[in-house]
């Protein structure tokens, strides 16, 4: 776009990635652990046994420490849309702003208000009201996830809106289409269920450490029991929602799917690569093998992505260079039509300004022929529509591979907790201890697929990142990047130290 240099765009992206990834270190723990705290407290209220209260209180302490950093890193992200992505904010603020505001009204106040009850209300409110507060914090946290993920889902699959040439922005036409878009729903269910896995593995990890040290044995066993049931159910559900996510990707964002599968030449009954090493010299359109080494399972990708046999699934090359047989336009055509749309829109605005009604009408009619390609007009070349294949491929396969490990962890820990044999294997406890760190990797990898997989688009097919950025100059964005890097790293280090001290100190009375 005229005026915004590429360095500014890149730094704005680095900054968003930095803040989002830091934020996402804390949020999945919050989403999962909040429900686990609610489970522990519910058991306490039902059984009246003090040890469950102490168990709940212990996990709540860790929850609170984590929650604070989640809040600190979260506020930046809301305002970053304005500071670093101001063109984005104007172009889609009419649609994107609403879920953010709703998140504030219906979710953040629930969390903020009942958080104080959960932590300081033990002796001030009744048992029942306290339990309600804990549940509300859990539900409120996950409700806030719903709204922000609806907003994100809309960026992946913009729907329920129309472009208004007079205001030069997209405007909402159907709220329910935005809220219940298949992508938004897949995003919400997959993100929350995987966060429950992270929260559960956090509990298993800390508890395994206690068992390895021979401390708080009973609390650790009980915590593992609850967490592995929750984790196991969540993993199964995450598998279903993950499959659904891939299916909607194939439908709405085929380029993202092709990138994370390393899939170049479209075919029917496409094979899936279960394991592979990407050929780094591979470029779109050439005849090289995308993989140096790969293990393929025939027909599976086509079946999973299209939910049927014999269906064609487009690959990267089909999407970049077009496929006349399958009715796919080449990106080059989309780019030239997009440029035409931008020119016609500019002409329309100028004619309107000078009061030339006839010329304005004519430009508007021409604009409407190509308006759905407008976003492509900001791209330089057809290959720009391909996201980084290797990064997406490895991130996706890491995520999926680790999810199998988590399933195993939950099964063997559930078995151990039920049979009371957790102490019998140090290898198992060690696996439990490291599983949380693997979950962090899987969780971050998931967001890499979601966000890097969408590149070059800020909003799929509508607004590329280089047309969404604030024209501010790389210097300012670079400075704030390092400012946030330093402060967030300092807070992370402090958080980890406080957390480990609390864990070493352990729960009271159990």
């Amino acid at each position: 776009m005229d005026g915004v240099d590429l360095a500014t765009v890149d730094w704005a992206r680095y900054q968003f990635a930095l803040t989002a990834m830091y934020h996402w270190l804390f949020v999945p723990i919050t989403l999962g652990l909040s429900f686990l705290c609610a489970f522990f407290e519910t058991i306490y209220v039902r059984t009246g046994k003090e040890e469950w209260k102490n168990t709940a209180k212990f996990w709540m302490t860790l929850f609170g420490i984590n929650f604070a950093v989640g809040v600190a890193t979260g506020i930046i992200m809301e305002f970053e849309f304005g500071t670093n992505w101001s063109n984005y904010s104007w172009m889609v603020g009419d649609i994107f702003g609403a879920p953010l505001a709703i998140e504030g009204i219906v979710a953040f106040f629930l969390e903020a208000t009942f958080f104080a009850v959960m932590f300081f209300g033990w002796n001030r409110v009744s048992k029942g009201f306290h339990l309600l507060a804990t549940w509300i914090v859990a539900i409120g946290s996950n409700l806030s996830a719903l709204w922000i993920l609806v907003a994100n889902g809309w960026m992946q699959y913009p729907t329920g809106m129309a472009f208004n040439p007079d205001t030069v922005r997209y405007e909402m036409q159907n709220f329910w289409e935005v809220l219940f878009s298949p992508v938004a729903m897949a995003k919400f269910t997959h993100t929350t269920s995987t966060s429950f896995i992270v929260g559960s593995l956090f509990v298993i990890s800390v508890s395994s450490w206690y068992l390895l040290k021979g401390r708080h044995l009973e609390m650790a066993r009980k915590s593992i029991l609850v967490a592995s049931v929750f984790g196991l159910i969540s993993t199964v559900y995450a598998g279903i929602t993950g499959d659904q996510s891939a299916y909607v990707n194939a439908d709405k964002q085929p380029m993202k799917l092709a990138a994370y599968e390393g899939y170049y030449k479209g075919e029917t009954n496409a094979d899936i690569v279960a394991f592979g090493i990407i050929n780094r010299d591979k470029k779109p359109g050439d005849n090289q093998d995308p993989f140096v080494v790969s293990i393929k399972i025939p027909g599976i990708l086509g079946m999973m992505a299209t939910r049927g046999f014999g269906n064609f699934l487009p690959g990267i090359d089909d999407l970049v260079y077009g496929n006349a047989e399958r009715g796919l336009l080449p990106a080059a055509d989309k780019i030239s039509r997009g440029r035409q749309a931008i020119n016609d829109l500019t002409a329309y605005k100028e004619a309107k300004k000078s009061g030339d009604q006839a010329a304005a009408e004519a430009s508007l009619t021409k604009f409407k022929e190509n308006q759905s390609f407008m976003g492509y007009g900001y791209l330089q070349k057809p290959e720009d529509i391909v996201p980084p294949v290797a990064l997406n491929f490895y991130a996706f396969h890491t995520m999926v591979g680790l999810s199998v490990v988590f399933l195993l962890v939950f099964v063997i820990f559930l078995r151990g907790a039920v049979k009371n044999t957790l102490m019998s294997s140090h290898v198992r406890l060690f696996l439990g201890f490291i599983s949380f760190f693997l979950a962090m990797i899987a969780s971050q990898a998931g967001w890499i697929v979601a966000e890097v997989g969408r590149q070059p688009w800020a909003i799929q097919d509508m607004l590329p990142v280089n047309a969404a950025t604030t024209n501010i100059g790389a210097g300012s964005v670079q400075t704030t990047f390092f400012l946030f890097l330093i402060i967030f790293t300092a807070l992370l280090v402090a958080e980890i130290r406080i957390m480990t001290k609390q864990i070493q100190h352990g729960p009271e009375g159990v």
């Binding site: 600190a72 506020i75 992505w85 101001s86």
Partner: protein
């Protein structure tokens, strides 16, 4: 039902809603004010813990209200969001930065292994209370003094001052606005602490807090005079029925005169704040915060209404008058404003449960900060 309302009505309704949220935020800055009072009023660990824990049960409300203020502006007036946040970059970034520091400070301050020590987190709280509020005041000041931006045909913002928003803090009016808010927040902070803390066993703390309330008001007065002088005598920005923006002499004074209710609201607001201070500093009353809080909301509403109503652009551009933002050219579409209005109907419910919990959580006593569950 709401969908059949005129766009202009919805735009005005949303300016009122945004003003209410913004004014409630100003009331809730008693948390920030209290944070800056910490060193002045609390002389030992117990007193410090009382002040911190009293504020610590409320800080998230203030924080969330700020977030909602941003979210509501984004949803209802996205052109302000894109123009101001993208343009006045540094002033907003620094404000946010101070809130990032605040968000961890209550939780981390007393925890073992917190890396920087309690004093550092207390300093973070002071920075948030002083610098954060000062800059917010300066940013609100630009609603009246104008900013340095132009918008192109596609509504993309170009900021013409290299300080990127920080220049706002070097304008006398904006600075007065910022400092007034800082001292008003301190007065409110004192009123809140007097209300919320059970001072048995720490009578000196109560005495110091009550005294600081009056001091804060006295410090705020010169800045209030500057603000009022500007509003009454200086020129302002206005637009005609075609939306053409121009400088109008004594614009804000004229607006006040045209809408006597606004004038009464301003006077009532200031009187209530003074009454709150009086009750706190000269009487043994604990009720000051309710008067001071309501007064602050009234003053805040006057400020926002003056900025947005009576054919006034609420975010004027000094360098290109026609780029100025009005509530009519900066808003969301009719559809989005309608949808958001339906959502806004849950706000009374939100206020009700906040009030309920506030009531049930009661007062804070010395015993409460010694039970191991406190910050």
């Amino acid at each position: 039902m709401i969908g059949s309302l005129d766009t202009a009505i919805l735009q005005q309704l949303w300016w009122i809603l945004v003003s209410v949220v913004g004014s409630l935020f100003l009331f809730l800055t008693f948390v920030q004010g209290g944070q800056t009072l910490l060193w002045q009023v609390a002389k030992n660990d117990i007193e410090k813990n009382l002040v911190i824990n009293s504020l610590g049960r409320k800080w998230e409300l203030t924080f969330t209200t700020l977030v909602l203020f941003g979210g509501a502006l984004f949803a209802a007036f996205p052109k302000f969001y894109s123009t101001s946040f993208g343009g006045a970059y540094w002033v907003w970034i620094l404000i946010l930065f101070t809130f990032v520091l605040q968000a961890v400070s209550y939780e981390f301050r007393k925890k073992p292994g917190n890396l920087f020590g309690a004093a550092t987190y207390e300093a973070f709280l002071f920075i948030n209370g002083a610098v954060g509020i000062l800059l917010i005041g300066a940013a609100v000041g630009t609603f009246f003094t104008g900013s340095n931006f132009t918008l192109d045909a596609f509504n993309r913002v170009t900021w013409t001052n290299p300080l990127r928003g920080l220049e706002a803090a070097f304008n006398l009016f904006n600075l007065a606005m910022g400092l007034f808010l800082v001292f008003n927040a301190r007065a409110l902070g004192a009123m809140f602490l007097v209300n919320n803390i059970n001072f048995s066993g720490v009578p000196q703390l109560e005495e110091r807090i009550r005294k600081s309330c009056l001091q804060s008001l006295i410090c705020a007065l010169p800045f209030l005079v500057i603000i009022l002088a500007y509003v009454l005598f200086w020129d302002g920005f206005g637009f005609d029925q075609n939306g053409v923006v121009s400088i109008e002499s004594q614009k804000y004074f004229t607006s006040l005169m045209k809408t006597p209710l606004l004038f009464v609201q301003l006077l009532a607001g200031l009187a209530l704040v003074i009454l709150g201070v009086f009750l706190t500093s000269f009487k043994a009353s604990k009720a000051g915060i309710w008067f001071g809080g309501l007064g602050t909301v009234f003053v805040g509403l006057t400020v926002f209404f003056l900025a947005g109503f009576n054919d006034t652009p609420f975010y004027p551009s000094k360098v290109d008058l026609q780029s100025s933002l009005t509530i009519y050219n900066a808003s969301s579409s009719h559809f989005t404003l309608t949808a958001m209005t339906y959502v806004a109907m849950v706000i009374p419910l939100v206020l009700a449960y906040i009030a309920h919990v506030w009531y049930h959580m009661g007062k804070l006593s010395v015993a409460d900060v010694q039970d191991g569950e406190s910050y």
